[in-house]
Structure formats: C-alpha cells, structure tokens
C-alpha cells in the first residue's frame, strides 16, 4: 500500500540550475505558460487521486501512532503521545530489523537485477521459440507470492521431498536444512527468483526501444558486440536499470509472504514489514504498529532521497529529459 506526505523540502528542485533542462531556463513567454498550464492539467488528476487515496490513510496512521490501543483492550484506548515511538527507538526490535531489511532487500535487488539484465539480453536475441521462452521466463513473477512461497517450501526446499535437496543428493552432496540453517539465504533465493522476471521485463522494454539503425551502424563500423554493449546499450539502459532498481527495492522492501511462510522471522529474517505485521496482528497493538510504520516511512524517505540524489541520473536530471 500506500502513503506519505511529500518530502519537507526539495531544495534542488527549486533552483533553475539543478532543474537544468529546457523548460525552466527558457524565457517564459505566452506559449510556454500555456504549455505549463497544460502540463499541470495532465498531472493533476493523478496527483489528486493519489493524495486522496494515500494521504488520508497515512494521516490516520499518524493519528493511530499516538494512541495506546491494543485490539483486545478496546476500553483502554487513550492518547499516549510519543510513547509508541519511545518503544520503537528504545526497544530491542528496530535496529536488528532494519539490518535484516537492508541485507535482504539489498541482496535480492542486486541479484535479481544482474540476472534480469542477463536474461533480458539473452531473450532480446531472435531465436527459436523466443516468444515461448519469454512467457515461461515471466511466470515466476506471475504466481501469487504466497503460493510461490508455499511451493518453494514444500516442493523445492523441503528436506525430504524437496527437488533442490533431491538434486543435491543426486550429485552426491548432503541435504540442506534450508529454513533451520540458512534462513537468510533461503529468503533471498526465493525473492531473487521472483523478481528477476520483473527486472527483465523493464530492461527488455528498454532494449526494445533501442534504435536498430544505430546498433547496425555500430556493427558496420566494426565495433564488436561487447563494445557495442558497453558504449551503446548500457548507457541507453541506464535509466531503465535505475527505474528497475528503484521500483524493485520498493517492492522488495515490502516482501512478506516468504518470511511468514518459511522462516517466521528467525535467524535474521525479521524485516520491517514482517515486524510490523507481528506488532499489528499478533501483538494486536495498533498504536505501536502505526508508530513502526511511520518510522519506516521516514527512514525510507531519508534513504530514498540520498540514493536518488547521488545515484540516480533519472532523478538528478528531474526536470530534464
């Protein structure tokens, strides 16, 4: 889901130099103003929809975060101001959970991005059964995450019936007790499997939009495939890679089902989204869950702002194309 107020300040956006690009630096004549008006009119419906649908719940969440509220003690609901936040920052849960989130999200994003790029390049080639191969390749992303986690738990990783252990035994290796001994690896493996197709889909769309003529011209000029890739394709793909990384991180940050179904938060797999679920639906503590949620949002904004400012060309050149 959803929610949040815009970041308090976006200083660079206000300065023309940083905004760069054509619009802001050009003299503002009448057609320009008309264009700007049109642009606002185009953005406004989406913006209003998003504000209404996400900010009302978010404000409610902030309100809830100041309440003492256990679902099973409805007659004891009361304001406790920042006590829930005190629990977040002084309790033992938050920092380890933040670490788990960073490790699991980070590794899954990097691995699925690399694999996604690899598969996108392979499947961009013309070959026998290209369409079928692409469709098969997308399927891990199509299966409902909860069902995928169950199928991995039972059919793939089970220590007795699982195909992975069966394959290990076939080549003479011992079975692995995945959830007991390697919980983090198990979760990362499953998430990477699920998100590789997502990354591939975006990068494939990027590869498709690459101009054929330019590539052909490059190969006529005698550039080898690796150089063409390095100097033509990769720069072209950069913003697709950035988008894939950004959206992938945001969705993997919320990953919940594999943890709930396989490791139950043990062995360093208690990510923020799983911790939140526990607070809200096992601890039944509405106020504390809301406070954890608000803190998660603030931390994510901080990280996202930093990452976008330093790493993401697509955002640094925000106003420009």
């Amino acid at each position: 889901m959803t929610t949040l107020t815009p970041p308090p300040t976006m200083p660079t956006a206000a300065t023309p130099a940083a905004t760069g690009g054509r619009p802001a630096t050009r003299p503002r004549n009448a057609p320009q103003r008309k264009k700007a008006r049109q642009a606002r009119a185009l953005v406004l419906p989406a913006l209003i929809f998003s504000v209404v649908m996400t900010q009302i719940p978010f404000l409610t969440t902030i309100y809830f975060s100041t309440l003492q509220w256990n679902q099973l003690r409805p007659d004891e609901i009361a304001f406790n101001w920042f006590k829930n936040y005190a629990v977040v920052f002084t309790g033992p849960d938050f920092l380890p959970s933040l670490m788990s989130t960073v490790i699991i999200t980070g590794s899954s994003v990097v691995l699925s991005l690399l694999l996604g790029l690899f598969f996108a390049i392979l499947l961009d080639r013309k070959f026998v059964g290209q369409g079928l191969a692409r469709t098969l390749m997308i399927t891990p992303f199509l299966v409902m995450p909860a069902a995928a986690a169950l199928i991995w738990k039972w059919s793939m990783l089970d220590v007795n019936v699982g195909m992975v252990n069966w394959a290990l035994n076939t080549v003479g290796l011992p079975s692995v007790a995945w959830n007991t001994d390697l919980p983090i690896v198990t979760i990362i493996m499953l998430l990477t499997w699920q998100y590789t197709p997502f990354m591939m889909l975006i990068l494939l769309a990027g590869l498709q939009s690459q101009s054929r003529e330019v590539l052909e011209a490059a190969s006529v000029d005698g550039a080898g495939p690796w150089r063409t890739f390095q100097w033509m394709t990769l720069p072209h793909l950069r913003q697709y890679i950035e988008i894939a990384t950004l959206l992938g991180s945001i969705m993997l940050l919320q990953a919940f089902d594999p943890i709930a179904i396989m490791t139950k938060g043990t062995g360093g797999t208690k990510t923020l989204s799983y911790l939140l679920y526990e607070r809200a639906f096992i601890g039944l503590d509405v106020g504390q869950a809301a406070a954890f949620g608000v803190v998660t949002v603030v931390v994510t904004i901080a990280v996202a702002t930093f990452a976008l400012r330093t790493l993401f060309k697509v955002f640094i050149n925000g106003g420009e194309r």
């Binding site: 494939l204 869950a289 106003g319």
Partner: protein, 270 residues
C-alpha cells in the same frame, strides 16, 4: 563458426529459462497427482495423473472469485493507465515546475508497509460502509500501482525523440492528437509492460483482500490460500488452484509480450 555459437547461446538460453521455470512446471505436474503421491518421499517423476484436484477446486466455486479478481485487476489497470499516461507525459515532455517533488511524492506513497496502513484503511472503509466492496478494492489497487506506472511511463516517455513531438506540433496537432497519434504508438512496448505489471500486482494482491473483503468482493488469492490445509496434505490441490489462478496472468503476459515485440516492428517512427 558464428552459427555454432548462435546455436550454443540459444541452447544455453533455453536451459537457463527452463531452470527458472522449473518450480512452476513442477507445480503444474504436482497439480495432476493425488495428495498421497504429491507428498511422497522420494519425489516421483512418474505418477498416475488426473484432473481430480481441479474438480475439487471448481466444486468449491472458484468462478465468483476469479470474476472479482478480474474486475478489480482490469478496472484498476485501466484506471491507472488513464491517470498515469497523461501524468507521465506532463512530467516528461511538457515543462512543469517541481517535477522532482511530484515524482518523489508518487513514489513515497509506496513507502508505508501494508501491515501498518491496513488497519487505518479498514477503519476508513468501515466508516464509509465500503468493506467487502469490489469498487473500493479497485480504487485501492489503482492507488497502489499508480506510482509504479507513473515512474515507468515517464522513463519511457523520456525516450520519445523530441523531434517527433516538435514535428507534430508544427503540423498543428493539438495536445490530444499529439499524445494519441504521435507519442502513444512509440510507447506501446512500455505501456504493455506497465499494464502487465499493474495487472499482476492487482491480481496477486493478498493482504488487503484477506482483511478488507469477506464474501461478495472476495478475490482469488485469499480463496487460494484456503486450500492450504491446517491439518493435512494440501500440496496437490493448492497446486491445482494456483495453476488455475495463474492462467489468466499467463494469458495477459503472453498478450503483453506480443505488444513488447510489436514495439520493434515500429521502426518507421524512429
């Protein structure tokens, strides 16, 4: 020499794709087994296959849930495209101040984990009497997917060569013609990818559906989860239900990947 290498790469591609697909393939295979065979140690590659598990799934009335899912997924995807395409266009091609703020706002709406926002949403829907309501779910899914769609669409729009837009403007095309006639066809692969991703996320959404719907508006994922038996074997019947649930998405995926390819054929606009 070059040909052999081509064949080798193709072979490698297929091997890797099939490895990735294996868990899904195995799921389909499992769905055709009996529960006893599915839980067998060691796993068996040859088994008596039947459609018994599928009969069980349909006896419990999967149809209504599939229809609800289709309504919410198609509805929200259309809504998202209608909102996101103009917005992304505005943020990319037309000048607008504070583009970054707007973009950041959209993406930041995805930062709050579902588990934190679901109770507030539950209480809001309860107060307006919209619990167990498929229209409410459609709107929620649209809000959930809108940021992804805006960001993705914008980066696709950024790829549209300026000259094309400017040429259209010289032709005297107004805003709508410019968007529909000139820009959208170039973007077809992008739109297909965005639509597919939005459709998949709505189709598979589980958490909100479990808590915010009961019967009238119940979608497929919570129904699917009800096959996970708390007290017995369920792998075969779950696989059957999951296979049925994944079919519409595979069809959508197939259609979208055709659109992805079509983008290539549109060399004319480049």
């Amino acid at each position: 020499m070059r040909k052999t290498r081509g064949i080798l790469i193709t072979a490698m591609t297929w091997v890797l794709v099939l490895m990735f697909f294996f868990p899904i393939g195995w799921m389909v295979f499992t769905s055709l087994k009996s529960e006893g065979d599915a839980a067998l140690i060691p796993p068996r590659f040859i088994a008596d296959l039947s459609f018994d598990q599928y009969a069980i799934v349909f006896e419990r009335g999967m149809g209504a849930y599939l229809l609800n899912s289709l309504t919410a997924s198609v509805g929200s995807t259309i809504l998202v495209l209608l909102l996101a395409i103009p917005a992304a266009y505005g943020l990319s091609i037309r000048p607008i101040k504070k583009v970054k703020d707007v973009l950041f706002f959209f993406i930041s709406t995805r930062f709050l984990p579902a588990a934190a926002s679901i109770l507030p949403v539950f209480f809001i829907l309860k107060s307006v009497g919209a619990l167990d309501n498929i229209t409410a779910m459609t709107f929620l899914y649209a809000a959930m997917n809108l940021p992804i769609a805006v960001w993705m669409m914008r980066s696709f729009f950024n790829e549209v060569p300026l000259e094309i837009v400017e040429a259209a403007q010289i032709d005297g095309a107004n805003l709508r013609t410019e968007l529909v006639r000139v820009v959208l066809p170039i973007l077809l692969p992008g739109i297909a990818a965005v639509a597919l991703i939005c459709f998949i996320f709505s189709w598979n959404e589980y958490f909100l559906a479990t808590l915010l719907t009961t019967f009238q508006a119940r979608t497929t994922p919570p129904f699917l989860a009800s096959f996970v038996d708390g007290r017995g074997q369920f792998l075969a019947v779950l696989s059957a239900a999951a296979t049925i649930a994944v079919l519409p998405v595979i069809i959508a995926g197939w259609a979208a990947q055709k659109q992805l390819v079509r983008g290539l054929a549109m060399g004319a606009v480049k």
